[in-house]
Assembly symmetry: C2
Homo-oligomer: 224 residues x 2
DNA sequence: TAATTACATACTGTATACAGTATGCAAAAA
DNA sequence: TTTTTGCATACTGTATACAGTATGTAATTA
């Protein structure tokens, strides 16, 4: 039962990383859960070797942790991590935007399209993917590829947190409005204002997530 | 020929990552080189499975890259990467120091000891390790663990560049003087000045590396 | 002589086998 | 009834086997 018998590009573990990350984000693999390699491997239709290579990569991404001789575990969501990461993005994202400069007309149109697509989308997982795409499109001209990749990495790392959040339409609408404000500044040709708005976006994006985590932690159980 | 037959903590690949990174830094594995897994595995006295897991991790660190069906390659040193990373550290390090606050007397003494140890050391590899240790000690109180880890990651990633540089005693002395200037500001209780000095340190640290790379690239061959 | 094709070799990517440790349960003793 | 100890089971970590692709060389043809 091979997944794909035409694999001209990429290895099995490449696709596995995306697949397993998605399972962690949508909580099919809930936080704290121990990964049973044999079970997961046969569930995914592959052997343990490429699976372990994928799990190893997800440790670097911060989605998993390993305890020697005990195995891989899904990392717990933590308020500390949110409080740490969002201020970093408040530093990195505006810097990336400043380095990128103003987007051209075509790029502006694409940003608008994405923002409207977010409005139309109802599936939380897709909303997050579109939101991330918007933020990446904003800095697509960034000449500093390391910053770009770093931001991309943090996006993947915070998807688990935003997944819980984006179930509420209120938070989605807020995000759309902030995007609009940034785009307004860009269309006015005011790059510093756009950077400032982006910085505030990141600083304020932290708060509702922390609140959600706190309310979640005060409950004992959760609905599946 | 086992490396250690008492491994109560940690897996083989944990130690392999450090070992192979060192081989890349000191150019036993030169840039661009294709990694022969069979050869390297038997050279290190282990099998290909844990080796491949270690190599996978070193891709995340930026030391290697993988081409499907071709294998792992040591990433080439690039001026672009240096130009990208040092401005990021000029952003992150001062922020981490600001969050850390002033070090206490004991910590100041440790910073002084490290700086003197750098002066006494002659081996480039050790100089870099001490320099990194100094910069980490500077921000050891940083409450933002993600920034701390990020800086640590960038240190490992830039060791290859600094190894070429630290062969010149001039550059070592410059580093020591800058450390001293930062410590002077700290002992005066002026945290903002220390952050500013650290920022300038990072911004200026980039230049000699780029110059070294340019002069190196204009030569055809190199001494072993 | 230069170019192209066919073949032998080597290496990667994946699966599987094996060894050693952790875990949970049952039985026995206090 | 509670605690402790021994054993069976399950799972991780590592080694090895196998399949398929890339690579280099030699032979053949233009």
């Amino acid at each position: 039962m091979q997944k794909l018998n035409f694999t001209p590009t990429g290895n099995l573990s490449d696709e596995l990383v995306d697949q397993i990350r998605t399972m962690i984000v949508d909580e099919r693999l809930p936080e704290g859960q121990r990964i049973n390699e044999v079970h997961l491997a046969e569930q995914l239709g592959i052997s343990r070797t490429p699976l372990r290579e994928a799990l190893t990569r997800l440790i670097s991404e911060g989605a998993l942790e390993a305890i020697p001789r005990r195995g891989f575990f899904v990392k717990a969501l933590s308020i500390e991590e949110v409080n740490d990461i969002y201020p970093i993005r408040a530093l990195l994202d505006p810097e990336a935007l400043a380095l990128s400069g103003l987007p051209n007309a075509e790029q502006m149109q694409y940003l608008n399209q994405l923002n409207q697509a977010i409005l139309a989308e109802t599936e939380p997982f897709n909303i997050i993917a579109l939101d991330d795409a918007w933020h990446l499109a904003l800095i697509q001209n960034c000449p500093n590829k390391v910053i770009f990749d770093l931001i991309h990495q943090f996006m993947l790392r915070t998807r688990r947190y935003e997944y819980g959040l984006m179930k509420s339409k209120d938070n989605v609408n807020t995000a759309i409005e902030i995007h609009q404000a940034i785009m307004d500044a860009l269309e006015a040709g005011d790059l510093p204002a756009a950077c400032q708005a982006l910085k505030e976006n990141m600083e304020h994006g932290r708060k509702p997530i922390v609140q959600w985590l706190q309310s979640r932690d005060s409950e004992t159980g959760g609905t599946s």
